[in-house]
């Protein structure tokens, strides 16, 4: 059974939410996952906090900092996720930087992911070449999809290469920026969404970075299969707490 592929084969646009594990409170991880599923989110990215998140803007940096202060660790995340598959069915993906995974041991990490029911990984600073050469066999052994990023600057040739290595979806970074931009999408960005969709890749594309509301979600999913919201959700947790997750999801994708 491959939960990611099943979800992607549904005949609808998908909504994914990113949040940082251990934020705002250390033990919030599982309850947030359950709430997101209950409110119709299609899949979830669980952020593994890191001291030096290079590709992230201030919102996710701060949530990582708080999570680390809360005592969040890789080991603790796996403890929290133990048993999650008895309650949650949607795909769960861990998004984290490579160093904590390397320290945990790549094979051990993958093994634990498989054991708790994680479906895939997004590791922004593990380039596709290194993955292919050194780690792909391990990921495949444990049935984990590794998701790669492309950006508006990625060449067509490289996109085709990344598509050939990917199993699941391609993470399409909307604009040249770190996470958390709220500037909205220009015509140029929307043309890029179209250009990629016209490449007819093997893997569907999910757009991330810079999606914060119904409008940007709509624009992102005009051509792509779905979109991921991160910083906007963290901000919501920060201002409204965990109470109104249903309201947040409904504002992005009204039923």
């Amino acid at each position: 059974m491959n939960r990611i592929k099943n979800t992607l084969s549904q005949d609808k646009k998908l909504l994914s939410i990113y949040f940082t594990a251990g934020y705002p409170e250390p033990e919030d991880t599982v309850s947030i996952i359950k709430d997101l599923e209950k409110n119709g989110v299609d899949f979830i990215e669980i952020g593994l906090p890191f001291s030096d998140p290079l590709a992230d803007g201030p919102t996710i940096q701060e949530s990582s900092g708080v999570a680390l202060k809360n005592g969040m660790t890789t080991k603790k995340l796996f403890q929290q996720l133990d048993g999650i598959r008895e309650e949650v069915e949607i795909p769960l993906i861990i998004m984290g930087y490579f160093n904590p995974i390397l320290q945990f041991g790549v094979e051990e990490f993958c093994k634990r992911c498989a054991a708790v029911g994680i479906d895939g990984l997004i590791i922004p600073d593990l380039p596709v070449e290194e993955y292919n050469e050194k780690y792909r066999v391990i990921f495949e052994k444990y049935g984990l999809s590794n998701i790669f990023l492309i950006t508006p600057q990625t060449s067509e040739e490289r996109i085709r290469f990344i598509d050939s290595v990917s199993e699941g979806f391609i993470y399409m970074v909307s604009t040249a920026s770190v996470t958390g931009s709220t500037k909205g999408f220009t015509q140029e960005t929307r043309d890029y969404f179209r250009r990629i969709s016209e490449m007819k890749l093997r893997n569907p594309q999910i757009v991330g970075f810079g999606i914060s509301d119904e409008e940007t979600y709509g624009q992102a999913t005009e051509f792509a299969k779905g979109a991921i919201i991160g910083s906007a959700f963290i901000k919501h947790l920060n201002s409204s707490g965990k109470q109104d997750i249903s309201g947040f999801v409904k504002r992005i994708r009204p039923v």
Partner: protein, 393 residues
């Protein structure tokens, strides 16, 4: 086996380019072109002229007679402290600004800790009339006010890094984020032999002028190109990489790397990466770095802001692991004493970074006829207030 970088960007197990895809086009563009550009005759001509007429090279190789006598060996000082702006850092920024121009970039970003690299970058940007943005940790901005003022005078914009521990590693993170946000027109001038390939190799090549000159100068003075030892302090490792460069694959030249022990290796306040670090990834490079068991990067400490980096360049990580390099750590106290001593013995006030390299002679003994070259990476002007506070001058 060579201690130089291989064609994949590795020094043994270390190096590579662990970067998010957003940086790939920029780093790849640089990787494909840097060697060709550096080989161009016009590039070499311009680089050499600027090093001579603007930086003030060659810097002297000075036989430190009284210092030598005190320690019973022959010590030469490579006087990088006499470079324009006061340290070796400018060798690299001159090279990189010429590289940036050839890549068609019109906006420069840099990180800085103590401010030396920031000043060296602001200087070459002023020289070329190119916009310059320097990221500096909020805490360092407070600690290094004179260098902040110098950068401003030189026309640079100094942006405080407010994330994480608000020091050098966070300034580097902010510079990398800026590069992600500005992928087309911007070149990132990294200040040491760190970061993703090809940076460690490119910066080492620009700093290699140090050992190129040592060879010629030692030949004149001692009728031999090779000293018995080359000694340098290591923060990220650029002055050391430059001093070692042409000796890396000459086994009869001993390589000594001096790290900052801070208040002592086991004090929890140290920057001795080779001793305290483990293999991991920092700023796009696989290398040794100080980190928690969980892989979170920890904050180093040294009295010298320029050695206060939690990682070390991949070249040095490989020198350490392979045993090619001898690594020594020096405490704040020993370094400060060595700085004061050089002032008294030779009339040279060294940067506190360089003082670490000078301090090894107390415990590390050399033979009487050994020739030991110490790379005096910078001058102590920037550190006067630290010297004043420390010695109650």
């Amino acid at each position: 086996m060579s201690y130089q970088v291989d064609e994949k960007g590795y020094y043994g197990d270390f190096g590579g380019a662990y970067i998010p895809e957003m940086l790939y086009p920029n780093v790849e563009e640089l990787r494909r072109q840097y060697l060709d550009i550096m080989k161009e005759e016009s590039f070499q001509k311009e680089f050499k002229e600027l090093l001579r007429d603007y930086v003030g090279r060659p810097t002297p190789l000075y036989y430190a007679e009284r210092f030598s006598k005190k320690y019973g060996t022959k010590v030469y000082l490579k006087r990088e402290d006499l470079c324009h702006t006061g340290a070796h850092k400018i060798n690299n920024t001159v090279g990189q600004i010429l590289m940036a121009k050839r890549l068609g970039k019109n906006r420069i970003i840099a990180e800085t800790g103590a401010g030396q690299h920031g000043v060296a970058t602001a200087t070459v940007c002023a020289l070329m009339g190119i916009e310059c943005i320097v990221y500096m940790g909020e805490i360092d901005i407070d600690r290094q006010a004179p260098n902040v003022a110098r950068m401003k005078m030189l026309g640079a914009t100094v942006i405080p890094a407010k994330s994480g521990s608000r020091t050098l590693k966070d300034a580097t993170n902010e510079a990398i984020r800026d590069w992600i946000n500005n992928p087309v027109d911007t070149h990132y001038i990294i200040g040491s032999v760190v970061g993703p390939h090809p940076y460690p190799d490119m910066v080492a090549r620009f700093q290699a002028v140090i050992s190129e000159e040592i060879k010629v100068q030692l030949k004149e003075k001692e009728n031999r190109e090779n000293p018995d030892y080359v000694v340098a302090c290591v923060g990220g490792g650029s002055n050391a990489a430059g001093a070692y460069y042409h000796y890396l694959d000459t086994p009869e030249v001993g390589i000594i790397a001096v790290e900052a022990a801070g208040k002592g290796i086991d004090s929890g306040k140290s920057a001795a990466t080779s001793v305290l670090g483990k293999e991991g990834i920092i700023h796009g490079s696989k290398t040794l770095l100080m980190q928690s068991e969980d892989g979170q990067i920890t904050e180093p400490y040294s009295i010298s802001a320029g050695l206060d980096y939690p990682g070390v360049g991949p070249m040095h990580a490989n020198l350490f692991r392979s045993g090619r390099g001898e690594f020594i750590s020096i405490t704040d106290e020993a370094a400060m004493k060595a700085g004061l001593q050089l002032a008294k013995l030779e009339g040279i006030i060294p940067a506190i970074e360089s003082s670490h390299a000078l301090a090894i002679f107390e415990d590390r003994k050399f033979k009487e006829d050994d020739i030991v070259v110490v790379n005096l990476s910078g001058r102590g002007d920037k550190d006067l207030s630290t010297y004043i506070d420390y010695f109650q001058l």
